[in-house]
């Protein structure tokens, strides 16, 4: 207890700095976004809040999400003649920070919808606030099953698949495409990991594949013992992990001991910078849109504007696009955009195609109809290539 208090005490100044930094950024953003709402009906003016981890440890991811939201808003404004502006909310992937930011948005009546937040834990934190305010929110990366399964957040939507889709889908891919006789599955003792493991194993066993279930602490950095347990029959090692550097180390331990088994990682390992063992597989909740022909135009624009990007931006583009279209349809019906009519329009969303390469339509719980995960294979240089399987 004493040690924890001491740690908190030492962390306080750091926290204070961080809070001060984002407090000021929020303020400036709201003031710039507040222009021109008077002629709402004729102009179709509305504000949409984007909640993303713009600063902090995963700032790169948040920046990508913000960029794609901005790109969608610009394009849709041009196409629909709307005047939709974005208000930035920096959540730092922290539930506490998301709550603070959301409180500001809820009290700002000009904001008709939220795009985001990024993390499932953040959605849990702001769920009751947006429900009370009737404020719709569409996330491009929150995949936790319970968020929609329980039905407690009726104004929450997402354009990505749920975690309970990932496990069985990955298992089927492994069984049907990689066709192993025996696999090793190592969980990292977190709820994310054991949950996925429990979903994957029954499917594999049902197909007659032998499973050696192992488990390792997320803090451990030596996997040579586990690597030596990979026997000659084992051709796939499934790692439902979140720390990409650990998987990289596991892969190196396998190579060190001359093992031929390939690694199959879940979306937590999707990290082209840190996990690059050639021949491995990784699944992801977002597609690599650079491989989708109809997205060539958007890819071109995004690359010229912000440089390279991964799988976090495109789903946010899709989410922003849903909101933009909803606002536009409200205006076309001769109404002023408000939270309730935008929410109703979002529920009616039915886009036959999207940036994600699939139709966008929500079921009664706010989940994407027909949502799926995407599998990538790492080529000889460790570059991620989208593969299609069953």
């Amino acid at each position: 207890m004493r040690t924890r208090k001491l740690a908190m005490l030492l962390l306080l100044p750091v926290l204070a700095l961080v809070v001060a930094a984002c407090g000021s950024s929020n303020k400036s953003n709201t003031s710039t976004g507040g222009a021109g709402t008077a002629a709402a009906k004729t102009d179709c003016t509305a504000q949409v809040a984007v909640e993303a981890p713009i600063t902090g440890p995963v700032a790169q991811l948040g920046g990508e999400q913000l960029h794609f939201a901005q790109l969608a808003a610009d394009e849709d404004n041009a196409a629909n003649g709307t005047k939709i502006t974005i208000v930035q909310g920096d959540t730092q992937l922290e539930p506490k920070q998301a709550t603070t930011v959301t409180r500001q948005f809820v009290s700002n009546n000009k904001i008709v919808a939220i795009v985001g937040p990024a993390g499932s834990q953040e959605v849990s934190a702001i769920g009751s606030a947006i429900t009370r305010a009737g404020l719709p929110a569409i996330s491009g990366s929150a995949t936790n099953t319970d968020l929609t399964q329980k039905g407690s957040f009726p104004t929450f939507f997402r354009v990505v698949a749920r975690d309970d889709v990932q496990g069985p889908q990955d298992a089927n891919y492994i069984a049907n495409t990689l066709k192993p006789k025996k696999v090793m599955l190592v969980d990292d003792q977190t709820s994310y990991s054991t949950g996925l493991a429990d979903a994957i194993i029954p499917v594999l066993k049902g197909k007659g594949i032998a499973v050696d279930r192992e488990s390792v602490n997320q803090k451990q950095t030596d996997f040579s013992t586990l690597a030596s347990k990979v026997d000659a029959q084992t051709s796939v090692v499934i790692l439902p992990w979140q720390v990409a550097a650990n998987a990289q180390q596991f892969g190196q331990n396998l190579a060190e001991q001359n093992k031929k088994a390939v690694i199959f990682g879940t979306d937590g390992l999707f990290s082209p910078d840190q996990f690059k063992i050639p021949g491995s597989y990784v699944s992801a909740f977002g597609p690599d849109i650079t491989g989708i022909a109809s997205d060539a135009d958007i890819v071109q624009k995004a690359k010229s504007k912000f440089g390279s990007f991964g799988t976090f931006g495109p789903p946010v583009y899709a989410a922003m696009h849903v909101v933009d279209e909803a606002i536009s349809s409200v205006c076309k019906a001769g109404q002023t955009p408000s939270r309730s009519n935008v929410l109703a329009a979002i529920k009616k969303t039915d886009q036959p195609e999207s940036i994600l390469g699939q139709p966008i339509k929500f079921d009664a719980k706010g989940d994407l109809v027909g949502a799926k995960f995407f599998q990538f294979k790492l080529d000889a240089k460790g570059k991620y290539q989208l593969v299609t399987g069953s």
């Binding site: 004493r2 030492l10 990289q248 001991q257």
Partner: protein, 305 residues
């Protein structure tokens, strides 16, 4: 059979690292009766120093000088900087409290540990640094017989650790410094009366222990690749356990304890279950402590430094 040998190699590698860190714990405990909880963080910082030296010479995939030379620089830089830091910590954090009740320096040690961990977080950020050893030392070098393989890095870690342990034993047993250390350990006041410079002896003890931790940090970086600000905590805890099991204050005990824990971990995960690895290891240790409360070599005061 190869599986057994593989586990022995894996166990010896981690065991050597635990032993090197445990030596520092044991030496400091010997002279000051202080549990220096910041010791694991010197191991972490040593790993960082090694990483930065590696980057300085072009990084894993673009080294500008031969590999053995880089390794030499990495090890010496880590050893001397951590040795110096260890002396500084002793001078400013522990010496003023030398005559205070035992609990005071213990809390200070925890504080120093948090200070180091968070200072690194502030200075270098939270992201994991990767040595990427296979880029400059190929797995193909080393011993490969059928399914059994030891790469050169592991061989180096085991051999270098044993050499350092031997050197330390020689220093403690044969040099004047070693004699002073043993004297301070037995009775500080008496040693002072006999003209031994106690402050200097303690400072040098810290230097030696911390340098070993720094070297262990570089080794960990080379074998396990990942370096971030919290790696010292778990390693420090395991090494502390090793020191206690071996008999704290006893140097051969620290080595024995370290190797024992490394091997126990490796065999527990290899033959029983990786899920219950720590449970099994610590279960064994509890049994050892029940049978020999002062540690495996603790009671025999042959070499109480």
């Amino acid at each position: 059979m190869h599986f057994f040998l593989q586990q022995v190699v894996n166990g010896l590698t981690t065991g050597s690292l635990y032993a090197l860190i445990a030596l520092g714990y044991s030496m400091v405990y010997g002279v000051l009766k202080l549990l220096n909880f910041a010791h694991g963080d010197l191991y972490m910082l040593g790993a960082f120093v090694g990483y930065f030296v590696l980057q300085w010479f072009g990084g894993a995939d673009g080294l500008s000088i031969p590999v053995p030379l880089v390794l030499l620089f990495m090890f010496t830089a880590a050893a001397f900087s951590m040795g110096g830091l260890g002396m500084a910590i002793e001078r400013f954090a522990y010496r003023p409290l030398r005559d205070a009740p035992r609990i005071a320096p213990l809390i200070t040690a925890l504080g120093v540990s948090f200070f180091l961990e968070n200072a690194v977080l502030l200075l270098f950020g939270a992201q994991t640094r990767i040595y990427n050893t296979p880029e400059f030392i190929s797995f193909k070098t080393g011993i490969h017989i059928g399914a059994f393989s030891i790469d050169i890095v592991r061989i180096m870690v085991i051999v270098l650790s044993l050499a350092l342990m031997f050197a330390l034993r020689e220093i403690v047993n044969r040099t004047t410094l070693g004699k002073s250390m043993r004297a301070v350990a037995i009775d500080r006041e008496a040693a002072e009366m006999l003209g031994i410079n106690v402050d200097r002896t303690i400072a040098l003890t810290f230097f030696l222990g911390s340098a070993l931790a720094g070297i262990a940090g570089v080794m960990a970086g080379l074998v396990f690749n990942q370096v971030y600000n919290l790696i010292g905590f778990v390693a420090g805890l395991k090494a502390f356990t090793a020191a206690v099991v071996g008999g704290i204050g006893s140097l051969p005990g620290a080595v024995l304890g370290g190797l024992l824990i490394g091997l126990a971990e490796s065999f527990a995960a290899g033959y029983i279950s990786s899920t219950y690895q720590n449970l099994i290891v610590f279960g064994v240790l509890i049994v050892v402590m029940l049978v020999r409360p002062s540690g495996l070599l603790g009671h025999a005061k042959i070499e109480k430094v």
